[in-house]
Symmetry: C2
Subunit: 343 residues, 2 copies
Amino acid sequence: MEEQLSERGKRILEAVIEDYIATAEPVGSRTLTKSHALALSPATVRNVMSDLEEMGFLTSPHTSAGRIPTDKAYRLYVNSILEVRNLTRDNREEIKRRCQLAGKDISEVLKETSRLLSSTSSYMGVVMAPRFAANVFRQLEFVRLSSHRLLAILVSQNGAVQNRLIETDHEIGQDDLVRMGNYLNEQLKGLTIAQVRERLLFEMKSEKVRYDAMLSQAIVLSEATLKSDDTQIFVEGQANILEQPEFHDAAKMREIFRAFESKGLILDLLDRAMQAEGVQIFIGSESHLVKMEGMSLITSTYMTGKDTVGVLGVIGPTRMGYGRVIPIVDYTAKLISRLLETE
Amino acid sequence: MEEQLSERGKRILEAVIEDYIATAEPVGSRTLTKSHALALSPATVRNVMSDLEEMGFLTSPHTSAGRIPTDKAYRLYVNSILEVRNLTRDNREEIKRRCQLAGKDISEVLKETSRLLSSTSSYMGVVMAPRFAANVFRQLEFVRLSSHRLLAILVSQNGAVQNRLIETDHEIGQDDLVRMGNYLNEQLKGLTIAQVRERLLFEMKSEKVRYDAMLSQAIVLSEATLKSDDTQIFVEGQANILEQPEFHDAAKMREIFRAFESKGLILDLLDRAMQAEGVQIFIGSESHLVKMEGMSLITSTYMTGKDTVGVLGVIGPTRMGYGRVIPIVDYTAKLISRLLETE
DNA sequence: ATTAGCACTCAAAAACCCAGAGTGCTAACC
DNA sequence: GGTTAGCACTCTGGGTTTTTGAGTGCTAAT
């Protein structure tokens, strides 16, 4: 059944996919012979297309329309037919220009990166901030806001900052805070955030801490700081998606927006993408998420030094310009990695 | 020309508005007499409606459709007809429950507030973070990330945090940073952020600093930290807007999303809303922004202590449930003010 | 002043028709 | 054999026409 795909079959499949990517319309034998210079008659093409349909690479929405590629076809396409174009110099320049971290908040940089991805690809950009837990602890700082309220600021090696408001039962003076801070910073130096957490839980039970009210207070506070590691995700350029003809229909639009409103869905996907290093492509139903039907995701991980710390990418319709977008994602990820290098 | 509106006229106008709010369909004399128990025949109602149209309170999209309220009508409605309902206990409880700042990032709290506004109103929630420049300086902290890169963390009185990555030319040691920090914190205590900035620019030129390389370095660094006060705005629940029948049409949807993509538009509006204290309502074209045609904005300022520091609200179609939404916005703003109190 | 009655209007929905793009099949062709 | 021309058939989308029904404005009666 699964007979080998002939060279000609491939060529025609490619042509169909490219036509469909360009027009978003089902493509028929006739149009195909015209737009692509295949030295074949429509009738022949029809036969081949019929075969491709049988093999599961094409479907027709109804009997007398043209045919559209299936997810399986896209998969084949990106795996073995597509040749990735190089980025133009302009593109590269623009990306470099807009990924500049000096003088900015780190999350601001990531948001800008997301915006950048969206505007250069003209689909949706998505960036997942470095997972905090995997980062290396750098410094913990307490700032007293009022008698019962203080602010904990946690800084990681690569410059990511998290802060938490903390309400305390007892009054705490500024000098207490400084002492606590010093103690903790000493203790926790060089650990990853996840390790820090373990350490704190462990210390909570130790003899020494048990008899020092202030220390135990400090531990409790920093524990509070660490829990709830809500990973930040930046999704930008949703309006771009609305431009795509396949989503012109209002109901579909709404569905998509609802889906992306809670970041949970994307988080799942990106988490999965982080398992492997480098560029990855999820096509439509491959993600096994119903909501992602008709959409593809191109991601790449980025790193600081040797550790994969995050992932970024582009979400668009399955019918997206893979050849154009893949290098954008790839290059951007590499650039971010370079920027985040701790030297 | 501008004759006085009769009592009956008001009653009917109210009925029209309420019907239109409920159905989003032009309302005719017949339907009106049925839904609202007016002891009048359709014909009479027609006459009155005709008068209202002449006075500019109603328009008809075409001759044989019902009528819809104009912006002017909404204005009259919210000013002198509408009676604001009280919040239900449930509503109040939910708002309280979800506005909880302990253990969270301050911007996380604001984002959640925005989400809350959107979900309780079922329109779009919007929150503008406290304008940083107006805040009172609390602490400035430098963290050394690597030999040429450091992180400046600026904390304001109410717990808002901004941080910036800074690249330096010369190498700077950790102890230098501590000394700089101490010096600056001493100097800048109690000033507003805006004043801090002025002060720094002034100090840059002073004799004392000119001859102390380290100090001048510190000044330059903190200047870098302060510039670009990008006010954060949180807009949530855009998908809610898509649910509204008046935006079912795809082109309109896209337009709205494009408009809100750059936060500039909203920023303008919110800035204006911040001029006056308390709840404010902008109806459709009143905002003089073409993009806001067909949309209304209900805002309220919130404060820490006696100072107005930010503004939050709900954006929806002009045809929105004012009576329901106004108290939501009002209550939320008050709650946030309470939470931000420095004690 | 109010209302019943009536002729008139208009947009939206339904019904209808037609052209065009596409298919599958068969038979001829190289 | 693979390829192609020819043909009958199918379906969708777009345009036109018809119908329907809610709504209006006016006039005349209450």
